[in-house]
């Protein structure tokens, strides 16, 4: 059954979604939503399409948004579903990366700091074997565009779920609880995944100083 759509209602930039004008939401969230969708689909074009579809759903269901979660949580939850649908259309196989409590174990082989600490039995067990060398930013916190480009390149190398979580937590600024809800993770898995994601990014940037 085709749902009737009120002409023009959804096209009004002043249309309120969760009490916020549509234009404001588009300005603040469209690009982050596309970046988030891009972690799940093959092409920028498909990511844009998935986000447009998400906006349509947002408009169609804005009246039923009860404000129990932040608008951002609701938006990214919808994008996640529309992007997944596009992904299924692309017949791509999801690279599962489900993290459980094991990721927080001290002996996790995928720990970004694996091998950097002295192992159990060593006189300095639990302390740095290969300590980090230096800060990533200079003392005055000047952010060089070259370094930002490195971070962006490093972000692109992360596994999908890690990239999604970093975008939500550190780029968009969504809380741990909301990110866990969007990505359907337990609180512990969210924490473990973020530890791994940030650690992998740090490792990539550290390589920059070792070249």
């Amino acid at each position: 059954m085709t749902q009737a759509v009120a002409p023009a209602e959804g096209t009004n930039p002043e249309h309120l979604v969760g009490g916020i004008p549509l234009a404001s939401l588009v300005r603040d969230f469209h690009r982050p939503m596309v970046n988030f969708a891009r972690t799940m689909v093959n092409s920028p074009t498909v990511a844009e399409e998935a986000v447009q579809e998400a906006w349509v759903q947002v408009l169609q269901s804005s009246g039923s948004f009860e404000g129990r979660s932040a608008v951002s949580t609701w938006l990214f939850g919808i994008v996640r579903h529309t992007a997944w649908r596009h992904r299924r259309r692309e017949s791509r196989i999801r690279d599962h990366e489900v993290l459980g409590a094991e990721a927080t174990e001290r002996t996790d082989p995928d720990d970004p700091l694996s091998g950097r600490m002295h192992p159990a039995g060593h006189p300095d067990a639990g302390h740095w074997r290969q300590p980090p060398s230096q800060r990533l930013l200079p003392e005055d916190q000047t952010v060089a565009s070259e370094l930002v480009a490195c971070v962006r390149a490093a972000l692109d190398t992360l596994p999908e779920r890690q990239r999604q979580l970093v975008i939500l937590r550190d780029v968009v600024g969504i809380s741990a609880e909301e990110a866990a809800e969007i990505l359907e993770l337990t609180a512990e898995a969210q924490r473990a995944l973020l530890y791994r994601a940030r650690g992998n990014l740090r490792n990539e940037l550290e390589k920059r100083y070792q070249r």
Partner: protein, 89 residues
């Protein structure tokens, strides 16, 4: 001897790096004595914490320049409209 000697439990570096995710997301005023003691005693962990704070600052800039202009916003709203029309044709 530090100000924390014998009064604050010591943690090792493996435990400390597990805390760093929470530290970079919280107010340094609330980090507490265990963290302060470890940072005082362990320069490598201080560097690690600073790196993770730097990383968080850098991530704020990765999508700089991508905020939509008024024209871009209007374009997206039009695209949504076109998408809706296409969906219901």
């Amino acid at each position: 001897m530090t100000a924390y000697e014998n009064t604050v439990p010591a943690i090792d570096c493996v435990d400390f790096v597990r805390l760093v995710g929470d530290l970079v997301d919280s107010d340094p005023q609330h980090w507490g004595a265990i963290v302060a003691k470890h940072l005082e005693d362990c320069p490598p962990c201080l560097t690690y914490l600073q790196q993770m704070l730097d990383l968080k600052a850098l991530l704020n800039h990765v999508f700089d320049g991508e905020q939509l202009s008024d024209a871009d916003v209007a374009g997206v709203v039009n695209a949504i409209n076109n998408f809706r029309e296409g969906q219901h044709e």
